[in-house]
């Protein structure tokens, strides 16, 4: 199982991560070893087998769309790294 440095870079970009060259090599080798181990799954015939995303038999669970509790704005902002006038501060996103 081979993974190229370019693939590692693509995954880093999808993951919103910067990686040093050393990190890239380290991840290349560990991902290769994990995915090589996973090759054994091909030894199982899964033709006509349905995937299981989760194990409970119950399906969609509905409830009325009503607010359960109101959280105060200042409470919600309490953990924000930067805030002003009751809003989260983010870098400029429109010109």
């Amino acid at each position: 199982m081979r993974i190229t440095i370019e693939e590692v870079e693509k995954m880093a970009s999808l993951s919103m991560l910067y990686l040093s060259d050393d990190d890239k090599k380290m991840l290349q080798s560990s991902l290769e070893s994990i995915l090589s181990h996973a090759q054994r799954l091909n030894g199982l015939d899964t033709k006509d087998v349905q995937p299981t995303t989760y194990i409970l038999k119950q399906q969609n669970v509905f409830r009325e769309d009503v607010p359960l509790q109101k959280r105060r704005r200042e409470e919600l902002l309490r953990n924000a790294p930067e805030q002003e006038d009751g809003y989260f501060i983010v870098p400029q996103v429109v010109e």
Partner: protein
């Protein structure tokens, strides 16, 4: 006996008879924390003042003759990925180094309703990704039985704290063995409830289709008492089971005569230390002596569970951890030119190596071109593994296995991710199949390290699990404590 060494059952009894107070009990735990923490570092936050306040409040309530809850005045430690209102909850990640939840997890609401006392938050592998607590962003936890060894993980802080009697019990979370494996390494009891039994509301998500919160206690009976408190339907978790929840203490003390026990040969075919093998074989004899019939059986898909687990859980990680963006809570990088750089620098500086690896792996197996070959394949294999277990429970009341291939390993011993992942080999299949299991002490290795066994039961058959475990615990009479 020091009060902090008590079980829930015993402490509750003394509290009810007013022979001790919750304040004295809590003070003993805090004293023990001061003594043991410099050696084991099982905790990331100690809530000393509020703990003493809560304890005094409950004593007052009791003295006034008011009705008190099932866990009234019992000092408790909570894994740091479970949200506790107004008490810092970091999941041992630099990403959440200053996060103070504005709400309680469902399990915390339940514990509060039973008048528990929160004494501390426990260290863990960052976001529960790891098997040794070496991946914590805030330092390694040490095993109270041998300070050169790991306590297991990811709930290593919770297990080490209970083994060291820093509290009466703890909560952990188990995605692939994160309660049962550290319970095994620390010689305490740990439960992975059936998926859907305990609400995940307020549990920081790792792999949503596998995560379950479970108790870590000093006895099987205590674990059942905690399960009676934390289980139950919660509308805020759409995977919370809609059913009649059982009384987990019911029938626990009935004997196991005539029960059918299966021992999957695939477990025994794995490499394991001779101590683990010997103690496991003794445990089989113990169940036979108690009148159970034990038969070797086979789980043909056993060998595929670990790979399926790492693919499925990492895929869910890559999606769940996308929420950490440096905007609404937690860490934000200091300098950045634009939004994208802010995201990337925040995440690169805030996450540790193992978390990055799992996010990367998850994005890989979900990306076009690999989705079918890895993710979809793993989900289909999961169906086969689940079917395999369900077949077993047509024939057997429960399955018996070791918890880990070896007792606690040394800090720094596992040098590659694959070596570390293999320590979950015996616990992972239970999560993949959505079954219930308990890890409980069975003996000590030649080096004096605890070794647990695992009782696995069908989905929603925890009553059988507690009954088998309780009977074994009484017969085995494991009473060793770490000489910390």
């Amino acid at each position: 006996m020091k009060l902090n060494e008590l079980t829930i059952t015993r402490a509750r009894n003394l509290l009810e008879k007013k022979e001790i107070t919750s304040l004295a009990l809590t003070e003993d735990c805090l004293k023990r924390i001061e003594e043991a923490e410099p050696k084991i570092h099982a905790l990331v936050t100690v809530a000393k003042d509020t703990a003493l306040e809560q304890a005094a409040g409950i004593d007052k309530k009791r003295a006034a003759g008011e009705k008190t809850g099932r866990l009234a005045g019992i000092p408790t430690i909570i894994k740091d990925c479970i949200c506790t209102r107004d008490v810092k909850s970091t999941a041992s990640s630099k990403m959440l180094y200053n996060y103070v939840p504005i709400y309680d997890a469902h399990v915390i609401e339940k514990l509060k309703a039973q008048d528990y006392v929160l004494v501390a938050k426990a260290n863990m592998d960052e976001f529960a990704m790891g098997s040794s607590t070496e991946n914590s962003g805030f330092g390694v936890t040490k095993n109270p039985w041998d300070l050169e060894r790991v306590p297991g993980g990811s709930s290593g802080g919770s297990a080490a704290a209970v083994a060291a009697d820093e509290a009466i019990f703890a909560l952990g979370s188990d995605t692939g063995g994160s309660v049962r494996q550290p319970a095994g390494f620390c010689g305490v009891v740990g439960v992975k409830p059936t998926y859907g039994t305990v609400s995940r509301y307020g549990l920081m998500a790792f792999a949503s289709s596998l995560d379950q919160i479970g108790p870590i206690t000093k006895s099987v009976e205590d674990a059942a008492i905690v399960m009676n408190t934390i289980s139950g339907r919660d509308e805020r978790d759409s995977t919370s089971a809609i059913m009649q929840y059982p009384d987990y203490e019911k029938d626990m003390k009935k004997d196991v005569r005539g029960m059918k026990v299966g021992v999957p040969r695939e477990y025994l075919e794995q490499e394991m230390s001779s101590d683990v093998r010997n103690i496991f074989e003794e445990s089989i004899r113990q169940f036979k002596d108690m009148g159970a019939t034990v038969e070797t059986t086979s789980l043909p898909t056993f060998d595929y569970a670990l790979s399926a687990y790492y693919i499925i859980s990492s895929a869910e990680v890559s999606s769940n951890l996308a929420r950490f963006d440096g905007i609404r809570y937690g860490y934000r990088t200091k300098e950045y030119a634009d939004l994208k750089e802010m995201y990337k620098k925040t995440r690169s500086e805030g996450f540790g190596d193992e978390v990055k690896r799992r996010i990367m792996l998850g994005n890989y197996v979900l990306s076009s071109g690999y989705y079918d070959a890895y993710y979809l394949k793993a989900l289909k294999v999961r169906t086969l593994i689940k079917n395999d277990f369900e077949e077993q429970f047509k024939k057997f009341d429960f399955l018996l296995s070791p918890v880990t291939p070896t007792p606690a390993f040394k800090i720094g011993e596992k040098s590659t991710p694959m070596e570390m992942y293999v320590s979950d080999l015996f616990t992972v299949p239970v999560n993949i199949a959505g079954m219930s299991a308990i890890s409980l002490p069975a003996g000590l290795s030649d080096e004096g390290l605890p070794i647990n066994i695992q009782v696995i039961t069908n989905a929603f058959c925890e009553n059988t699990m507690f009954r088998a475990a309780y009977n074994f615990e009484q017969a085995a009479g494991f009473a060793a404590k770490p000489a910390l």
